[in-house]
């Protein structure tokens, strides 16, 4: 008999309209990294929320070391030694690292906080597990990678032995992912057991021992990573073979869709300019990709182009029309669609029904309104067509509140709305962030299709694979400037990486460089 530290047997959890978990069994051995693989909506998060006590299962039992346990809330889970790093960190931004680690388990003496002992303990832990953190820095000042290490330290400080990582790599740079993998291996050596939720196959292959695959709420099976390969896993996850993107030939014509000249956008974080004198063109029929590590001015570049933020200087021309100082609506009507980076902040009105979200860029047009009155019939018809065409799934169709939809379907809704505008320029910022393989494939296909229709696509992405897979031309951004222009067919992962971290600058971009004034 094998030694399971956690067993979840025949778990079933139903939400109105959906069975999120249907008879799922998951067994975690002591000292292993066990991956939980599945598309968005496969039920991974629900299963882990049950283990962590956020939900109670409708059926099934949870055993720890062979004994049935009843986990009613996260405190119970903590008492059993189960800790979780959530995808979106639960940290107090204005507190220091140490304050965050002890939060909820503050050591006190007669009601006064005593941090001396704790400080020692946290430093010991961070050294033992090689978790580099700046213990007195405030959370808002440290990098995402370090924030994640703080979350891990939080679990270790509470002496948890079962660690759940919910999509831990979604927010990290390639280097940070490497480091996280190392940390996970150290944790295992020290006797912890890890449940690792992911849909990134290569990460799972490189770090985990066994993997359990979920699909549409059902358990598909558990396999040893040694005995499997990426293709088999992806087939198990999606239920069919994944075809690579056939991006076809570069169809770029000479028609210039977007022309950016000497664009300067100020930064909200530091005194220097976030976008510092950038010029480029997007031609009809090409996917131009801007690669770079997060925070090198890509977001601000998009804000400047789309009018969400004021620019300092420069000129933006869309379809031969100067839109530098035009309003957002004028830009949109001139021919600009925008799939935003933050779909909750900019993309959707979460408390609105799906139909109103799908018409957010149309409602003011003739037909959707008559003399200032909203034409409900038209809105309904229009949104139902988009729902069908783009296969947007939701509990109650056009009347679903956007907040209650899954991330993938929220993104589909945004893409449907933006592409339906028939704009000549499509700006897509990390359109596949946090989505699963099937959804990513779909979005990539859509982007290629739009390109083939003769549109210009400006893709901003942090995922190098995506950059190499679907772009026709790559610009690398570093520190607010473009440092390289590359041909995806003739460059490599490593080469782009060097430009991304600023280790190399192409000669033609050096000429315009002005010394940084920091």
């Amino acid at each position: 008999m094998e030694n399971y530290i956690i067993e979840m047997n025949n778990i079933r959890k139903e939400f109105p309209g959906v069975v999120a978990n249907d008879d799922i069994t998951l067994k975690l051995q002591k000292g292993e990294i066990h991956a939980l693989l599945g598309e968005n909506g496969a039920g991974k998060s629900t299963l882990m929320s049950i283990l962590f006590g956020l939900y109670t299962p409708d059926k099934g039992e949870i055993k720890k070391n062979g004994e049935v346990v009843n986990i009613k809330n996260p405190n119970d889970a903590n008492d059993l030694g189960i800790g979780m790093v959530h995808q979106h960190f639960k940290l107090v931004e204005v507190f220091t690292v140490l304050e965050n680690i002890i939060l909820g388990a503050e050591p006190t003496n007669l009601g006064f906080l005593t941090t001396k002992e704790t400080r020692k303990k946290v430093i010991e832990l961070s050294e033992k597990f090689n978790l580099r953190v700046d213990i007195d820095a405030k959370i808002e000042d440290i990098s995402v990678g370090m924030q994640q290490r703080v979350e891990i330290l939080k679990m270790l400080y509470r002496e948890n032995e079962i660690l759940i990582f919910d999509e831990p790599t979604a927010v990290l740079t390639p280097q940070e992912i490497e480091e996280l993998m190392k940390i996970m291996r150290v944790l295992i050596k020290e006797g912890k057991s890890i449940l690792f939720i992911s849909h990134k196959l290569n990460e799972i292959m490189s770090v985990s021992d066994r993997v359990t695959v979920l699909r549409k709420g059902k358990g598909i099976g558990t396999v040893n990573v040694k005995d499997t390969n990426i293709n088999q896993l992806s087939e198990m996850m999606v239920g069919r073979k994944i075809e690579g993107i056939e991006k076809g030939k570069n169809k770029a014509s000479n028609e210039v869709i977007l022309k950016v000249e000497n664009l300067v956008v100020p930064s909200k974080i530091h005194k220097n300019n976030a976008v510092n004198d950038i010029s480029f063109e997007v031609k009809a029929g090409e996917i131009l990709c801007i690669a770079g590590i997060e925070g090198n001015g890509q977001s601000e570049l998009v804000y400047g182009l789309t009018g969400l933020e004021k620019i300092t200087s420069g000129k933006v021309t869309l379809l031969d029309k100067d839109i530098t100082n035009k309003s957002i609506r004028e830009r949109n009507l001139t021919g600009l669609s925008h799939i935003p980076e933050d779909r909750h902040k900019f993309g959707l009105v979460l408390d609105f029904k799906l139909k109103y979200n799908l018409t957010l860029k149309k409602y003011f047009q003739e037909g959707f309104q008559n003399h200032g009155f909203i034409n409900e019939e038209m809105i309904k018809k229009h949104s139902e067509r988009l729902i069908k065409e783009y296969d947007i799934r939701s509990g109650r169709g056009a009347n679903t509140i956007a907040r209650s939809m899954s991330g993938g379907n929220q993104q589909k809704a945004i893409i449907a709305r933006e592409i339906d505008c028939e704009s000549k320029l499509l700006v897509a910022v990390q359109p596949t962030r946090g989505l699963d393989v099937g959804a990513i494939e779909n979005i990539h296909k859509t982007l290629v299709l739009e390109r083939d229709k003769g549109k210009g696509v400006l893709l901003i992405s942090l995922e190098l694979e995506e950059v190499l897979d679907i772009s026709d031309r790559i610009l690398v951004m570093y520190n607010g400037k473009i440092v390289a222009e590359l041909d995806p067919d003739q460059t490599t992962f490593q080469e782009i990486g060097l430009y991304m971290v600023g280790a190399k600058i192409q000669d033609k971009f050096k000429a315009t460089e002005v010394p940084a004034n920091d």
Binding site: V349, F352, R403, M405
Partner: protein
Amino acid sequence: MIDFKFWKKSSKTDKKDNKDKEYAFLSAVISIVVGLLVAIMLLFLLELVAPNSDFSKPILGIKKYFTYSFTSTSTFFKIFYNAAPLMLTGLAVGFAFKAGLFNIGATGQYAFGAFFALVAAILWQFPWWAALLVSIVAGAIWGVIPGLFKAFFNINEVITSIMLNWAGLYLANLLFYNLPAMHTVLPNRTDNLAFANPSAILPNFGLNQLLNTSYINIGIIIAIVVAVIIYIVLEKTVFGYEIKACGANRNASLFAGIKTKSTIIFTMLISGGLAGLAGGIVYLAGTVEFTVESHLLAMGFNGIPVALLAYSQPLAIIATSIFIGFLESSGSGLQGLYSYEMTSVILSVIIYFSAFALIVGHFIKKILKRRKNSKNDQDNETSSDLGIVPEAKPRDDEQIDQKEVVE
């Protein structure tokens, strides 16, 4: 409760919408009942500590409180007389809520509107409808100032509108002193409209003599018509769509090309205008005169519970303002038994608890959800079309988990 039926009719689209509205209605009723019970307990408690306890007194008081409004046509019509301005200030607050703004300055806009209605009536000898228009404009001007600050400098509208409450009231006082033609009879009270300008008194079509009450006029009709107009604006028009989008997510609205700044400004303009109109309706009734006040007028603040209790729904505001109007006019029933302060305490307790309607609604949903879950255990076939659980608005910290799970 007229509007409750209206709700049902208007939302034929969706079963769940009705469900939500039933919860809202239920929670409002429960909050009110709890408020009443606490008020009654308070009366008994006071009697307990009184030197010579007489427990028949609170019972008599409660009885009087609830029957008083129905003892004469005058007391009955006073309900609606009170309700009209409450409805309008409630609409002012609720309308701003829809755009994500908290117009706590309704009382200042109310005072401003009231004063200028009288200026128009007494000094300029305007007829009633023109004086009402002046009150709207005055309130709107006072309301748009916080809107401008919010739109252009992102200064919190709560702070600016609170300060403008005092500024508005004292500016009205100052103007009052500097316009001696408005108070020829008494030094700190405007002249009675019956003498100064009878054409400025809101028409009542002779009903005042027929029903023997001075508390009847077209104010309540105007208020209800305005409520219906606001409902149509919010629910049926492009402007209303933009207001609600701005209220729910200003960034996404900006992204979609909505001019969020002008939406904020127009919202505050309209909100202020509604509060100003409330002032006009009160002071053009001919029953009260403007006096120099050193503390803020309660009317603007009472709009807040009116709006909260109605979930900011314009049609529901009709009902909640009539209810609170009833509570206010019933207070007079306790005269002789209890002091004026005591009546105010009882009224405030009820209003206070009414504002808990939101929390009560949350509880009801929770209880129903639990009951439904246990039912599901018994018979597994029931597929759910109720949809209470995932679409219940999650608390902020639950949001993420909820969203990811419900796919």
